[in-house]
Symmetry: C2
Subunit: 370 residues, 2 copies
């Protein structure tokens, strides 16, 4: 039954959600995961300084957080060497994407993204009545230039690309992203989701003028900074667009502890470097585990590795389910041909021991299942 | 300059924000407030158990919070003796109001609220292209039945009332709210904002069936529970409407520490009772301070007191500014005739000492200013 007061748009929206949380799966299964490797969280944890800052801020939780997140916003601006007017802090990239879509996508407007790309972007576009053109991957890579070409045909308002890519893990070099920007049709905005950028080679990072009206970049404290539970992300973009968020955002929406934690995390470069080192090691080990099982790991510039299970989506899904039964939480891409893969987050040695033990019997189960 | 890619609606929105935070004022003034009595935060703080729960959860901040907030949602449901399907947890009442307006108010749809009522509701309605009918207060009380009558004329989708009332502090008895529900025209939804309900006399609380399709109630952990910085609120309402939030909400938006803190706060009834007692005392003292200065305090069923400064909005604004210069943060209603008042949050003895000291010279300044 649908509430009769919903707008026609709201009434038309599907009941599906972008992601089912691991807790929901745990409740369904009746047991907890022993290795949480499905949401690309940083199992290596946040900076101890961030934990300390959040714990101290908890005592002041009776106060609303600063609605301008001034201290954090200025620190981010300094970190990037840009004016604070180019920075907008929000409740994770998910929250910022929702606001960006709301600001720019009206009913019937087109956006372009990759087939099998980030479902939450699609969720927001659909939620605001936009229409989505899905461009197939070029093999296991986002077809960067095809996204831009399709935008010219459809007159799309937004062109979304995650670089490094989720769910496949690859990265385009700086020249490719810069070529996208140059080829972008008038009236379109490139939404460059850089959630995993800290794990990519420095040389691959595109140089983008924050004042460039053609691009908005999105960053997060949820991945390399290990603060997924805090919900803090930020956008870097042209000032008029960044300012427009004030017209629609939940001004007091940013948790006070989250602001303190993100600031401390940003300033702890050593911890970040430590995490990146650990992730590099974990990627190698995941690749080795895949190889030991006769599978192929795709190259990754993120904190996860897509493993080609060598069959189709139905098979990979059985692998995911069989791993879950053995206490390992992983996810997989949603559409063919990407969905022949499973996606495994970089874990600690102990997490990957669990994965290494669970994978052979999970594959066996998947192969013998009906 | 406006970004050219904004939707016509976004481009038309004003740049004003619902509230300026005290931190922004402090930065402008160049000094900090010594008494923070303007945002109706609970100066008495959250439950120590909530602080402890948040501090423990901070160590797990690398994990996303449960997107279903299952534990908290079930605890809230048990607290109210209702099925969890009637409960939706969100990022404060502000966040929930935004989602509710998005779900129900399309471009050109009407809503009804009070003239001088909660600005953030108006902000959301305007932000989604809705139109607002403002009903004047009946003296210093919300004109409850006039709201409903106006909804019948305009075919409004939503009728908003805060009970107890913000910014004036009064409360309508249960019979009045129940009469509103009975008189509500078909197709309208009563949005009953109960942010301050814990401070009101128990006898005044209306009995509302959570399955009643005519009403959605909003509660928060920001006021009596002292967790404004955590950003947690919840809605109680009919299941189809509660379920519809899943179509548009930021599923992973609820901070992990916030979920833990709210749960612990909900279970600490002793702390809540302690806070209510302190607030009752503070209200009496604020009234006495007003009286000592020849001013009249309005009756309050909230954690703040509106003080009638005996003149007009310009005068009250000078009082607010003069108090700020003396380190006291208070706010005032936005429209006449309510804006002859200043609104003072219930504070600790020390906070109210500062207020008591600052008020006479602030009034003096206001009286002699140009």
């Amino acid at each position: 039954m649908t509430d009769p007061r919903l707008t026609p748009l709201s009434a038309s929206l599907p009941d599906t959600v972008p992601f089912v949380g691991p807790e929901t799966q745990e409740r369904r299964m009746g047991h907890a995961f022993t290795a949480r490797l499905g949401a690309n969280e940083s199992v290596f944890g946040p900076s101890p300084r961030a934990v300390d800052a959040m714990q101290r801020a908890a005592q002041d939780a009776w106060m609303y957080g600063d609605p301008e997140a001034q201290e954090l916003r200025h620190a981010i601006a300094a970190h990037h060497g840009v004016d604070p007017g180019h920075i907008r802090v929000g409740e994770g990239i998910d929250g910022l994407l929702g606001l960006l879509v709301r600001l720019t996508v009206g009913s019937g407007d087109w956006v372009v993204t990759s087939e099998g790309g980030y479902p939450t972007f699609d969720f927001h576009v659909t939620g605001f009545g936009g229409r989505i053109e899905h461009v197939p991957y070029d093999g296991d890579r986002v077809d960067a230039m095809a996204l831009v070409e399709r935008a010219a045909w459809s007159g799309a308002k937004l062109v979304y690309i995650a670089n490094p890519d989720n769910p496949m893990g690859g990265v385009h070099d700086a020249a490719t992203i810069q070529a996208m920007v140059e080829a972008l049709p008038d009236g379109a905005l490139l939404v460059l989701d850089e959630a995993y950028v800290e794990f990519a080679p420095e040389a691959d990072l595109p140089r983008i003028d924050p004042a460039d009206g053609r691009v908005i970049r999105l960053r997060t404290f949820s991945k390399a900074h290990g603060l997924a539970g805090a919900r803090v992300g930020y956008a870097i973009g042209p000032k008029p667009l960044i300012a427009a968020f004030d017209r629609v955002r939940n001004h007091f929406g940013l948790n006070r502890m989250a602001q303190a934690g993100a600031l401390a995390a940003l300033l702890d470069a050593d911890h970040l470097a430590h995490v990146v080192t650990q992730v590099t090691r974990a990627r190698a080990r995941i690749a080795a585990i895949a190889h030991d099982n006769g599978l192929v790991a795709l190259p990754s510039a993120t904190n996860f590795v897509a493993i080609d299970c060598g069959s189709d989506g139905a098979f990979a899904k059985r692998v995911v389910t069989a791993l879950a039964e053995r206490g390992v939480f992983v996810r997989m891409p949603g559409v063919a041909p990407l969905n022949r893969c499973i996606r495994v987050t970089a874990g600690r040695e102990a997490d990957l021991d669990v994965f290494a033990q669970a994978l052979p019997p999970a594959l066996e189960t998947a192969r013998t299942a009906p």
